[in-house]
Amino acid sequence: MSGPAQPAMAIGPMGAATIAGIAVGVVYALSPLTVLFAIAMAVMLRWAVRGIDGDERKWLLVLLIGAVVVRVAAVALLFASTNHAQVPFGSFFGDEEYFIKRAIWLRNVGTGLPVHGADLIYAFDEYSATSYLYVLAFVQFLVGTAPYGVHLVGIAFYLFGAILLYRVVRSSFGRMPAFIGLAIVLLMPTLFAWSISALKDPLFFALSAVTLSGAVNLVRARLWRHRFVAAGAVALLCVVLATVRQGGAVLVIASIALGYAVAALVIRPRVLLASIVVLPIVIGAIMSRPPVQLRAYNAVQAAAGQHWGHVATPGWVYKLLDDRLYPDRSEILDLRAGEALRFLVRAVTGYVTVPLPWDAQSTPALAYLPEQLFWYVLVALFVPGVLFAFRRDALVAALLFGYAMVAALMVAVTSGNVGTLIRHRGLALPYIVWLSAVGACELLTAARGTAGAPAHALPARTLS
């Protein structure tokens, strides 16, 4: 009866650690990927805020933790809302179920588990084949079947790509454009949707972001050996990207080439002016060669053919070709000059404007309307954003511009289905948003009448 009264349930540090260890063990037993994902997120958040202090650090953590929480909650909701008595697992998108099953079949083949003959054929089917299937199969080889855990893998890849771009952009354009861009990349609904998918899109985004960072380091690294490492990494990733998405390597190589070319011109105004004069002449000279004309014509025909295929799919479609070319695909073989030109013009305008708000034909389309309006705002801010960004960091701005333009052009001339267009616009959006964010910040600053450079801006940088 002596001494002060102790709380009956007081838990010391050892007790708390024990309970935490047991909890982690239970969770690991239920879902090993969740624990590994949590560790990865902790490392990633630490890396994201490294060198960032004060309110910016606080807001950045709020944004990132919030982004992680809502994504994990979405996966948990998918698990909770799925009737597992009827289906083995739930999925967000139509393709996902097939995708996850293929990864499981591949894992079964790799581990020697018996699989149905049809599953064996589908596992190695050329349709939608990507090396990401083998990544998911390997992950599930390590931790067991994880039809919900694979969503966490996609989330981790996406967050990695977003944080990497944020850090690249922050050091070039400043705090505010970087933060705004990151917020859009993490919270924009369609990007959010694809970031939680088990499809190849998050991995492709993450690897593309690494190539962009590598392309910056290739120019900026102080030591030559660092430049060699960057060049090697970019080359290796191009090879990997070619296995993730058909044409992925071409996409990245063209993006980097365009970025370097634009950066080289932008930092040399006299060369830029000379190029403006010389470029049409050079193009004219090159295009006067029949083999070059034929190659360009064949490329337009191939794009028109892909567009035609998209228009023939079920769902909400839009047309870029003249009406006479739709009843019979073979008519594209005789594409006329005017038709080809109109197709290209419509492709570019369609990429920006489709779906037009007054064309919304369903409840999902109406639900998408606010994001479409936001997309128009991003496009409007993109042009001034590019110009302002060139003044801050020509190399990073040009690379973002290159990645955005190449992805946009490739999607613009091949799409014909509204849903597919919105999905594939996600290839260019993560690069467009940073430049639009720069435009927004600069225009806001100008509107306030602030003299001199904005507070959040860094001094203008040259190429290296």
Partner: protein, 378 residues
């Protein structure tokens, strides 16, 4: 010091005219020549076509070989432009042919609207094998007609211009049924709420060879041609739009020869009471105008012989042998005359059918048409 002095020298050293000439020779001429080489588009050239001889007809494609061919070029045959220019390489393209009349044509290559090369008399279009246009008579019914709609004799399809069909005879409307091919069988399917109008038409059709080599006659339609044959459906341009006519039988348009025949029918007493002079054969194959046999006299009734009974179908009650005289429209066929596609000869059988009865008989005697005193087997 002036830039150009009073002796025309620049900076006192070079004569101005000399300088112009030097700049022209050393700069402008090489620059111009270089620009010419750089921007000169190589002249396209036609080398040949294959095949050089084609037959007149649709869906024909030829290949052209050449040099420096480019996208968006066109090829014409004299003044008639090819439907397509499907470029495969700078040396080859395929052309879908336009409709060309038989003859010899220049092959002309155009770049936009400018002629760039020509192969004179390079293509020959041969005429198709002649396809005669003939007339046939078909019996059948106009389908899907509103209750009171009908046609009058003489109605033409189309109503204006050169008709491809004309109504020769028309019957009263009746509830519609269509004959539908279901696998190997043809099924008559009623169409509730619709009526059909039986009629006999004279149609113009073009003769062509079927894939098996036989000749058939085709009537053009809005989507495809229809073969003149039983159960085939003709789509004709009527006075108030397209109408459907399903054929039940087809005949040559030449007016059939008419024979006079005495036929012995084995009938029952009940049948005997119904058979009368003026009855017309309504059996399948005799529906077209002028193609049905008709009883012109009833010549006598006798007890049926054992042989006739054996050949006739089983008759209810006391069988009788009714001898009647008929006029029978007949047509030349392989092996002699025929009626309803069956040989028409003495001793042959004949089936006579009206709405009320069907009787089987044997041809006892025939008086051939005057122009053909005897059958002419072929």
């Amino acid at each position: 010091m002036p830039i150009v002095d009073d002796r025309g020298r620049v900076a006192g050293r070079v004569n101005l005219l000399d300088a112009f000439v030097a700049v022209f020779l050393l700069v402008v001429v090489p620059l111009g020549y270089g620009a010419y080489l750089l921007f000169r588009t190589p002249k396209p050239k036609l080398v040949g076509i294959a095949p050089t001889t084609i037959y007149q007809g649709p869906n024909v494609r030829i290949g052209i070989s050449g040099l420096n061919l480019r996208p968006f070029m066109r090829v014409s045959f004299d003044t008639i432009q090819g439907r397509t220019f499907l470029i495969g390489s700078t040396k080859f393209a395929a052309i879908d042919m336009p409709d060309l009349a038989p003859g010899t044509y220049d092959v002309v290559l155009f770049d936009y609207m400018q002629e760039v090369d020509r192969l004179p008399k390079a293509l020959t279009v041969l005429p198709q094998a002649p396809q005669p246009l003939i007339e046939m008579e078909v019996a059948g019914s106009f389908l899907y007609m509103p209750g009171t709609a009908s046609f009058t004799v003489g109605t033409k399809f189309p109503p204006t211009g050169d008709p491809i069909a004309e109504v020769l005879a028309v019957g009263p409307p009746s509830p519609a049924d269509i004959r539908v091919r279901a696998g190997d069988v043809t099924v008559a399917v009623p169409v509730p709420g619709q009526s059909q109008v039986p009629a006999t038409l004279r149609v113009k059709c073009s003769v062509s060879a079927a894939p098996d080599g036989t000749l058939q006659c085709n009537v053009p339609g809005p989507r495809a041609t229809a073969v003149v044959a039983p159960d085939s459906n003709l789509t004709l341009a009527g006075p108030n739009g397209w109408v459907n006519f399903q054929i039940s039988e087809a005949h040559a348009t030449a007016k059939p020869a008419v024979a006079r025949a005495r036929v012995t029918f084995i009938v029952s007493a009940a049948m005997l009471a119904r058979i009368k002079v003026g009855d017309t054969d309504k059996s399948p194959g005799a529906g077209a105008l002028g193609h049905a046999a008709k009883i012109v006299s009833l010549d006598g009734v006798a007890a049926a012989s054992a042989g006739a009974l054996a050949r006739a179908s089983i008759i209810a009650g006391e069988p009788r042998a009714l001898t009647a005289t008929l006029v029978v429209p007949i047509q030349q066929a392989t092996g002699g005359w025929s009626y309803k596609r069956e040989p028409f000869k003495i001793g042959g059988s004949l089936v006579f059918e009206t709405r009320d009865y069907v009787v089987h008989g044997e041809v006892a005697d025939i008086t051939w048409p005057s122009a053909t005193a005897a059958p002419s087997p072929r």
